[in-house]
Amino acid sequence: MVQKQHFKDHFIEQRIFHNRSLVALFFTVILFGILTFRLFVLQINNHEHFTTLSQNNRVSVQALPPTRGLIYDRNGIILAENLPSYTLQIIPEQTSDIDNLLNELSLLVNLRDIDIKKFRKEVRRKRRFEGIPLRFRLNDEEVAIISVNLHRLPGVEIKAQLSRFYPYGKETSHIVGYVGRINEKELKTLPVTNYSGTNHTGKLGIEKSYEALLHGQVGYQKVETNVRGRVLRVLERSNPVPGNDLYLNLDIKLQKVAIDAFADKRGALVAINPENGHVLAMVSMPDYDANLFVNGIDSKTYKALNTSWERPLYNRTILGGYPPGSTTKPFFALAGLETNTIQLDHEIFCPGYYQLKGKAHKYRDWKKWGHGKTDISKSIIQSCDVFYYDLAFQLGIDKMHQFMTSFGFGQRSGIDILGERSGLMPSKEWKKRVRKQVWFPGETVIAGIGQGYVLVTPLQLALGTATLANGGQHFKPQLVSAIQRKVDPVPRLVNPQMVRKIPIKRQENWNEVYHGMKSVIHSARGTARRLNKPDMRYEIAGKTGTAQVFSVAQDATYKEEELEERLKDHALFMAFAPVKNPKIAIAVVVENGGHGGSVAAPIAGKVIEAYLNQFSDEELNNPTPIPPEEPIRKTTPIPVVKPDSTASSQQKGHEDHPHG
């Protein structure tokens, strides 16, 4: 601190202070001069200009909402479009008594409570001169009734607007998702200015995860209006920038084939192109019509959908965790071979059960009397459980965990829609951390046939199959294939992203597994031999699975017919085709479907057939040529909206999905 007091030169101090006071005085005069000049310019020089704006007409600024980007399937078939529709809206500034007006209107057209509630919420957040929507999608009759009465309804207007429509609302609801009216929570996170003319935002699926790209940039116009708010003249206009169009890898025709094949069964199907991770079809059954949600679903319909035991709102492809059952066998066989745990000539004797040394517990094979001498091929073809009990015991759970993780099991795949579950590929470390228990050897044994703690999503199973099919290239599954900005002449392609390349130790190991899987379909005793037809142009490799929904007591036998439908086994099937140069990898889960070979495999067969039929013989037998470098341009990774709780909020009720 500088405290009292050296000798102070009061004269110098006085002089400095007076100098500074003069400067301050000078600045005061300058600043007042600037203000006076500015006000002179506004009030005297431009007086007439502003008087015109103020007295005769009023200037208002209107937001021009951008047109939302369209969504197409891989063949250019439109999946999400904007159709003109009539909206009833009220400009609060022009009406003195909103309550009375709402009463009047409810006598003319049907107003639901939810419409009025949402309207009142928006009144609070928007400016008084902005039109606030009350009812969307007026029909012709309603438009006529209101138009006739418009003269006695101040502030009411009917606006022709674009409204989102999904031509394949049912088929794509789980993938494309839907838009809905902006809710209070979204209001806080969405950029205010850019959404000032927008009433809807993406709620689910592609519509949500690509919201930033689909929405576009708001424009505005400064207009002169008369006393009643009618636009007389546009003074200034800045056009909105429409949102980007998206092209999906999805093939809507294939999607429909899959849905038809499911008929009224529940379950999920995911088909992926193993060459690049493109998602060709993605089906979760039952489905629902996405169009219901666009302008507010009424609570009764929503409740029915949300509480139905069949769970139509639940996207099984990314949320459903199923015990994979025997579909894991090809992976474990490969794990045994590649880690040198077993050799190509490995063979066991299957007596119909397996016992750990010194333990009485019998781990039973599905075939009560056993498969006898069983090698690798036979273990896959006939799905011998004992072979894999033994192999799992030799591998140990941590090697299994490590190997399966590299195929994407137990991890989120990174697909470009939100809310995905990670499934579960257990390890000793996992059990210690989460369950706070040590790992038991018996748990390794049942993990060997895809039971116990193991859970996969249908997406993961398809992705794992694709990775197996293409020799270990693990791609990120991708729904959006290209992004079309309105200013660009051609869409920009989204490049495939390889997550990792699994090293091949010996090609023969992989070939052995391919051979086994091929024989599942193309040999006399294969579990999916019914897919084998005499005139087939290609060969399929696959594996069936049947996952127990609950455990059967030791030594008890059970009859499926006696079980209640919901306790029946899940039927699974995974496959790829053609065996050489695979073009499609597929995973099917049919909930409570029974046996994989008889229920799940035929669905996969139809989808594979429909997809591969579009290729010529020559194309089938050769790898798809890599497209030329032009016009493909490198794209930066797409800014996918961060997952938040709203993404899965409507699926909260499904946490307790049945498993093992």
């Binding site: 500088v2 007042f32 600037i34 203000l35 506004l42 008087t51 103020s54």
Partner: protein, 368 residues
């Protein structure tokens, strides 16, 4: 001097500067007339403002009784209390409209940043008056730290307007203490030299966009630009003599936002025109000139520095508010002093004038 003392004798003994008082009364009278119109002839609101003005006058008279010497002694304690409360606001403050500015004391809510408008220049005047004038470099560095600490705390609330006013109040003290022109120019250049690379390399596109929108609000007519467009129409359509009291169409048809607080000047300009504005500006100028005169007559370094800072901060209020509503400055929340509706700023302003009066009327006593 003798005749003057006799004409002002009573007021002088009451420590009131009659000239300044007359200026303030004229300003407040005009302010009340505008507020009546701007508030939509809201009598209840006028009463609330009347009570505040009454309190503010009492505060001014009480403060005028305290001698500058006593104020000087209390400055550090006031500053420490104020800073502590600023920290408390950030930790346990009450949020109103997204900004955390208020401290809830149970019986009433208090805005510590408002107190800092006076506490900061007092502290700096105390510190610099104790040392060499003009201050040496290390004293300047310490002064800047004293200034920056509360300014940053207020900016974090966030309250851009108040932190601007507090920092200018502090900088004026340093300026009046005689910091060399070379240093002032040096800082200005350093500021520019720092801004350019930050703009070019460090800021992202959206940040640049935000700054541009703030500097030129009319580029964002759906957001903050809307206020400015409407405000300019109100001012411009006022013309030479205005549309007459209570006849402003822009303001009365609710085109003009915040018309009884930050944008009250536009209402005045619309209803009373350029001639009305010249009158208002003259009154402001009168008060400022009287303030500068008082400080040049002041005794003691502390009184001079503090007095000048109070007057010049008053100038900043006026310039920023009118500059903002007429579209030459970015929109920051600064009220039109003693005219805009709103409590705490009026009390602080009048307390400042109380200090000026104290400085002027305690002179003779000090001279003894």
């Amino acid at each position: 001097m003798a005749s003057r003392a006799s004409s002002q004798g009573l007021f002088f003994r009451l420590h009131i500067d009659l000239t300044l008082l007359l200026g303030l009364i004229a300003l407040i009278a005009i302010g009340q007339v505008i507020l009546y119109s701007a508030s939509g002839e809201n009598v209840a609101l006028m009463q609330r403002q009347g009570i505040r003005l009454g309190i503010a006058f009492v505060v001014m008279i009480i403060i005028a009784q305290i001698s500058p010497d006593a104020m000087r002694r209390w400055s550090p304690i006031l500053f420490i209390i104020g800073s502590t409360m600023l920290v408390a606001v950030l930790l346990i403050g009450t949020k109103v409209l997204g900004a955390q500015r208020w401290l809830d004391l149970g019986f009433f809510r208090f805005q510590p940043s408002e107190m800092m408008k006076l506490a900061v220049p007092m502290m700096l005047a105390w510190y610099l008056s104790g040392g060499h004038i003009p201050p040496r470099n290390r004293h300047l560095i310490i002064s800047l730290i004293i200034l920056l600490l509360p300014v940053l705390l207020i900016a974090k609330q966030p309250d851009l307007g108040t932190s601007l006013l507090v920092s200018s109040a502090g900088l004026f003290v340093i300026f009046m203490a005689g910091v060399s022109w070379r240093l002032i120019l040096g800082f200005a250049f350093a500021g520019i030299a720092f801004t350019i690379p930050m703009w070019l390399f460090l800021m992202r596109d959206y940040q640049r966009q935000r700054v541009l929108t703030m500097l030129n609000p009319e580029s964002d007519p759906l957001g903050s630009g809307y206020h400015i467009i409407q405000s300019k129409i109100a001012i411009g359509s006022g013309g030479t003599f205005g549309k007459g009291w209570l006849n402003g169409t822009q303001s009365h048809l609710e085109f003009l936002p915040e018309r009884h607080t930050d944008f009250i000047f536009s209402v005045f300009a619309e209803e009373f025109g350029f001639s009305g504005i010249l009158l208002l500006l003259s009154i402001y100028l009168f008060i400022i000139f009287r303030g500068i005169y008082i400080t040049t007559q002041a005794h003691g370094t502390f009184a001079r520095l503090l007095g000048a800072s109070i007057v010049l901060t008053f100038l900043v209020y006026i310039f920023v508010n009118i500059g903002m509503v007429s579209g030459i400055l970015p929109v920051v929340g600064v009220p039109l002093p003693l005219v805009s509706y709103g409590g705490t700023s009026i009390v602080t302003l009048m307390a400042g004038f109380g200090i000026l009066m104290s400085i002027h009327t305690h002179r003779k006593l000090l001279a003894h």
